[in-house]
Each structure stands twice: as structure tokens, then as C-alpha cells.
């Protein structure tokens, strides 16, 4: 298969996934018994105008998917005048609705918080990947030794740790030494940029470490089994037999070949780490998307919940697509296949 073909297939998959997420999001929040739009529209606290605005905005008087009556009349464009279309149109205009709790635009709320989560997830992931790959490589190489057992046990332990509980433990331990809540020290004069960003950096330390510890275990396990599989290949035997020093075999033959599956797995794990971000942000009151979701759950703030989920899902889909494309550049076999 040619690379162009591979790339097209991956883009196609990403688009289908994206469409499925959009439909799912629409279904979950609009059709199911707990339909929040119906809930608010029947709320006695709403004024008549507000109700009408919502009705028009969501197209509630229209059919859900397609207007079959108008199709029968031969009115093709009119067929698509439905609730689902209204939902899509609102989405593409960047209109994710208004938060029940704060009365602010959901897209605005998300935009101001998204970078805080990105910084957290990225930092923790880079740390976890570096440590995890190094430890996994060493463990696989020294398979069965005490060092391997130690690394393996540490990895299994960190894998079994609930993120939120590790966060609470670190929070208790670090109390008084490091900032444990929020993004900036309250009352800090943002006189100049540097002190402000240093303060933010300090607040980032604990959440980042918590997430990194939990995900390092995962990466160690994956790297260890990936390297172990490569090490049992015949070309390693050949490399060893022709007298290459062990370290070179590890670096040039084992590491390089074990790296490839890692790229895919890191991308897939990203969806999983985003879930960790919700827990970490909740524990440390880090004002990102995760904390927003936690608060939205507490207050049953459905528009925020829906918007935040959509944002997370779409970012993870895009990250996966990028990883697949990167894979096609790194692995020459994709071209030759």
C-alpha cells in the first residue's frame, strides 16, 4: 500500500470517528430521558422570551433527524431542516450553548481553560514517557534480574494507584512546602510577568508529578514487553553474533524497533491520560477542563459537560491522527507494504 493511501485511510477513520462523536453527543444530551433542554424549557423560572429563544436555537419544534414530510413534497433542502441540523450549525458557529451555572458562553469558558489542561497533560506525559521508556528498556534487557523485578513491581504499583488518591497523598505530604491548590497564589500582584509565571509554574509541580507517576507505570510495562519482544527476534541474535557490544545492540536495534509501537500506544494512551487530568485537576483545584467537568457534574451543568466532552474527544481524535501520520513517516514499511 502506498503512503498516500494509508494517509487517506487514517484521515477517513478520523472523520468517521468525529462524526460518530457528534451524533453520540447529540443523542446523549438531547434524546435520552434526562434531556436537559426539555428540563430547562419547562423550568418555571424561565421567561417567555428565554424559552422561545431556546426553542428557536435548538429547533425544538422541528423533527429530530430529517423532515420526511417535506421530502415527500419534493422539498429537498427543507428535508434537512431538523434538530440535528440546528445542532450542527450551532456547533460550527462555535456556539456550544450557555452554562446553566455561570450564564456564560460555554465555548468562552472552554477557550480560557483549554491551555491549562494542555500544559498539564503535555508536561506529565513527556516526563512519564521519558522515564517510562528508559526504565522499561533497562528492565527488559535485564529480564529476570532483581533490577527488573524492582522496576516491574514499581510499575505495577503505580498502575494500580488511583490517580486521585495519589494526588491526595502528595497534597498532604507537600502541604506548607508547595502550593497545593489553584493556579496562582491568591492576592499575588501580577506586577511583572516573570513572578506571575513562576508562581503558576510552582502550582503546576504537584499536579504534573502526580499524573507523571501514574502514567510512568503504564509506559514502563508497554516499553518492557515491547523491547522484550524485539529482543527475542533473530536479528538481535545476529547482531550479537557478529560481535556488537550489548549497548549498541540495545540502542541501534532494540530501541529503534521498540519505538515504533510506542508512537501508536502513546497516542492511544492520550485519551486515557485526559481522564487522569480530570482527577488531578479536581484534587489540586487546577482550573482546567477537568476541574470544569467536575464542577459541571456537581451542578448538573449539562451544556458545559457536553461542550467539555466534545472538546476532549475531538482533541484526542486529532492527536491520534497526527500520531498515525507520524508513524507513516517513521516506518518505511508503510510505504512498501
Amino acid at each position: 500500500m502506498q503512503r498516500g493511501n494509508y494517509v487517506l485511510r487514517k484521515i477517513g477513520f478520523a472523520l468517521v470517528t468525529l462524526a460518530a462523536v457528534l451524533v453520540f453527543n447529540f443523542l446523549l444530551f438531547r434524546i435520552l430521558p434526562g434531556d436537559p433542554v426539555k428540563l430547562i424549557i419547562h423550568s418555571p423560572r424561565m421567561t417567555r422570551e428565554a424559552q422561545d429563544r431556546i426553542r428557536a436555537n435548538f429547533g425544538l419544534d422541528k423533527p429530530i433527524w430529517l423532515d420526511l414530510e417535506r421530502l415527500a413534497e419534493g422539498d429537498i433542502p427543507g428535508t434537512f431542516d431538523s434538530q440535528f441540523t440546528a445542532y450542527l450549525v450551532n456547533l460550527f458557529r462555535g456556539d456550544l450553548g450557555i452554562s446553566f451555572a455561570t450564564r456564560r458562553d460555554v465555548s468562552e469558558l472552554l477557550a480560557e481553560r483549554v491551555w491549562r489542561t494542555v500544559v498539564l497533560v503535555m508536561g506529565a506525559n513527556v516526563l512519564a514517557i521519558l522515564i517510562g521508556m528508559a526504565a522499561g528498556l533497562v528492565a527488559a534487557w535485564r529480564r529476570g534480574s532483581r533490577l527488573d523485578t524492582g522496576i516491574l513491581l514499581a510499575a505495577l504499583f503505580s498502575w494500580a494507584l488511583p490517580t486521585f488518591f495519589l494526588g491526595i497523598i502528595l497534597l498532604i505530604l507537600a502541604r506548607g512546602r508547595l502550593p497545593i491548590a489553584g493556579m496562582v497564589t491568591p492576592g499575588l500582584k501580577p506586577a511583572d510577568g516573570l513572578t506571575y509565571w513562576l508562581d503558576v509554574g510552582k502550582h503546576l509541580i504537584l499536579p504534573t508529578i502526580t499524573m507523571a507517576i501514574v502514567y510512568t507505570g503504564e509506559y514502563i510495562l508497554i516499553m518492557r514487553s515491547s523491547v522484550m519482544e524485539v529482543l527475542s527476534e533473530d536479528f538481535i541474535l545476529a547482531a550479537k553474533a557478529k560481535g556488537l557490544p550489548t549497548l549498541r545492540v540495545l540502542r541501534d536495534h532494540a530501541l529503534k524497533n521498540a519505538m515504533l509501537p510506542m508512537v501508536t500506544i502513546i497516542a492511544l494512551t492520550l485519551g486515557y491520560t485526559v481522564g487522569g487530568a480530570i482527577q488531578v485537576e479536581t484534587v489540586f483545584s487546577w482550573p482546567g477542563i477537568g476541574r470544569l467537568m467536575y464542577e459541571a457534574v456537581q451542578k448538573r451543568d449539562y451544556p458545559v459537560l457536553q461542550g467539555a466532552f466534545l472538546l476532549l474527544a475531538v482533541s484526542v481524535i486529532i492527536a491520534n491522527l497526527l500520531a498515525d501520520l507520524l508513524y507513516s513517516i517513521l516506518d518505511p514499511r508503510v510505504k512498501a507494504e
Binding site: L156, P162, F164, S225, E229, S232, Q279, V316
Partner: protein, 304 residues
């Protein structure tokens, strides 16, 4: 019986099993072991709120004046129920999908694997969070959501195994003798794949337990039941500033205990049943010589 002995004689397998057993005993005999019934209403005085441990309440009391130890013991029931039920569900779905895709292939098989890919990409905790938040947080809703969303790994595993097993001699022979697909799958393929499925299912139990406790910690546990995640949620929201460690730490350690037990068991099982993980070429020099002289990796007995 060799693999079973190998499992229980290894420290990881033995310790993991004992840890799991302790929680199972706790869950089954909760009414006998627990000093109080956490579902009973209690009369509380202000001093009872977050009272530190004493002789009649070994782990102190929570923010509602209830005995923490009793809640901890009863909480094992929720974790085990969700863990086993959700994992069983994902095992059944994952195996069916994997066999369909691997053995029959075709359009339906392809479609099912695309669905698996799709579920793998979507971030699972946020997805569970929105579904539970909208559909309600009953215990079986939680089991259903976790079970329906976590079969993808099993499906992939089973599919790749079935793909290789179905080309093996004994399967081809059975087919030549006119055995039906159903019979080939049940009698010849599944027994070969089963050990791997079980190892994966054990790991899935721990994943399900962690997912349930994360949901409960985020305020989406079954409100009618006492669970470890919910205890932590209450402790975190209401007892952190009071430094009530007796309320905060035990449920957390309980979750770590049970998930570590399952991870140890699952990992050890996987090591035993997945022969590819047994040996490699850089292990040590004397083995290398033995390999080269003895010829062929296949004949090399695993040294464990």
C-alpha cells in the same frame, strides 16, 4: 496442571491471590465482620462528627458520625460487584467480537473492529462521566457503562489469536472432517485462546474497579451504596481541612490493595500463558552459548 502450580508457587501469584482472597472474605462476611451496619441510621452528637479512632470505632467516624471501619468493610462489596460484573461483560463482548472478526472476518468483522478502534480512541473516563451524569448513577448503570466501554482490548487480543490458531493443523483437519464452524470455535479455538482471555479479564477487573472508584470520587457513585470512591469523595470534600486521616486514608489504601492484587495476578497469568514473553537473546552469555550450540530458540526450555 503445570501452569496452575507455576502460578501459585510464584511470589507474585501467591501474594496477589491472598490479597484478593482477603477482600472477597471481607465482602462476603461483611455483616459478620463489621462492627456496625453502615446503612442504619444513627443518632449523632456533635462530638461524633469526624471523631478520631477509639476503642469502639477502630478507624474513627466520618463526617456524618458513622463508623469508618464498617463502611470500609461494606465498600468491598461494591468494588467487587462492579469489578467482576463489568469485567465479565467485557470478556463476553470482547470474545464474541474477537472471534467473529478473527474467524469469519468479512464486512461485519471489519465493522466490529472499527467500532473497537473508535472506542479505543475516545477518552474513556470523560465518556463514562457524561453518560452516567445524564443517565443516572445507579450501580447497574455504572456496571453497564464500564462493561460496554472496556471490551476493546480483549477483542483485539482474541482476534489476533484466532487469526493464527485457525490456520493451525488441528483446526484445518477438523474442518476437513466436516466439523461445523460453531464446533471448531468451541472445541478447538476457544480452549487455545482461553488462558489469554482469562489473564486479560483479571486485569480488566482492576480497570473496572479503578473506573468505578474514579467515578465515585468525582461524585458519580451510586448514592444508595457505600463505596470506597464515594468515601474518598466525602473525605476529600469535607475532612481534608480537618486532617481526619482515619477517614481519608483507609478507603484509598483499600482501592490500592484490591487493584494491586488483581494486577499482580493478571500480570503473572499473562507471563505464564504468553510464551512470547519468556526468553530473549540478550539475557546472558551462557544462555546465548546454549542457544547457539543447542540450535533454535524453540527447544530452549524457559528458565524460571
Amino acid at each position: 496442571m503445570e501452569p496452575i502450580r507455576k502460578f501459585f508457587l510464584s511470589p507474585m501469584g501467591a501474594i496477589g491471590s491472598l490479597m484478593l482472597l482477603s477482600v472477597v472474605v471481607m465482602a462476603v462476611f461483611a455483616p459478620v465482620i463489621a462492627p456496625y451496619n453502615p446503612y442504619e441510621r444513627v443518632q449523632v452528637t456533635p462530638e461524633d462528627i469526624l471523631a478520631p479512632p477509639d476503642r469502639s470505632h477502630l478507624l474513627g467516624r466520618d463526617d456524618a458520625g458513622k463508623d469508618v471501619l464498617s463502611q470500609l468493610i461494606y465498600g468491598a462489596r461494591v468494588s467487587l460487584t462492579v469489578g467482576f460484573a463489568a469485567s465479565f461483560m467485557s470478556m463476553v463482548i470482547g470474545t464474541s467480537v474477537g472471534v467473529t472478526a478473527g474467524y469469519f472476518g468479512g464486512r461485519i468483522g471489519n465493522l466490529l473492529m472499527r467500532v473497537a478502534d473508535f472506542l479505543m480512541v475516545i477518552p474513556d473516563l470523560p465518556l463514562m462521566l457524561v453518560i452516567i451524569a445524564v443517565m443516572g448513577r445507579g450501580l447497574w448503570n455504572i456496571v453497564l457503562v464500564i462493561g460496554l466501554l472496556s471490551w476493546t482490548y480483549t477483542a483485539r487480543l482474541v482476534r489476533s489469536q484466532v487469526l493464527s490458531v485457525k490456520e493451525r493443523q488441528f483446526v484445518l483437519r477438523a474442518r476437513a472432517l466436516g466439523a461445523s464452524s460453531w464446533r471448531i470455535i468451541w472445541r478447538h479455538i476457544l480452549p487455545q485462546v482461553l488462558p489469554l482471555i482469562i489473564a486479560q479479564a483479571v486485569l480488566d477487573i482492576s480497570v473496572a474497579i479503578l473506573a468505578e472508584s474514579s467515578l465515585a470520587f468525582l461524585g458519580l457513585g451510586d448514592p444508595m451504596l457505600v463505596s470506597w470512591g464515594m468515601m474518598l469523595n466525602f473525605a476529600f470534600e469535607r475532612a481534608l481541612s480537618r486532617q481526619a486521616w482515619w477517614f481519608l486514608l483507609p478507603p484509598g489504601f483499600a482501592i490500592v490493595w484490591i487493584s494491586l492484587a488483581l494486577v499482580l495476578i493478571g500480570h503473572r497469568l499473562e507471563e505464564i500463558v504468553n510464551p512470547r514473553l519468556r526468553t530473549h537473546h540478550l539475557f546472558n552469555a551462557s544462555r546465548m552459548v546454549a542457544l547457539l550450540v543447542g540450535g533454535g530458540v524453540g527447544q530452549q526450555p524457559a528458565t524460571e
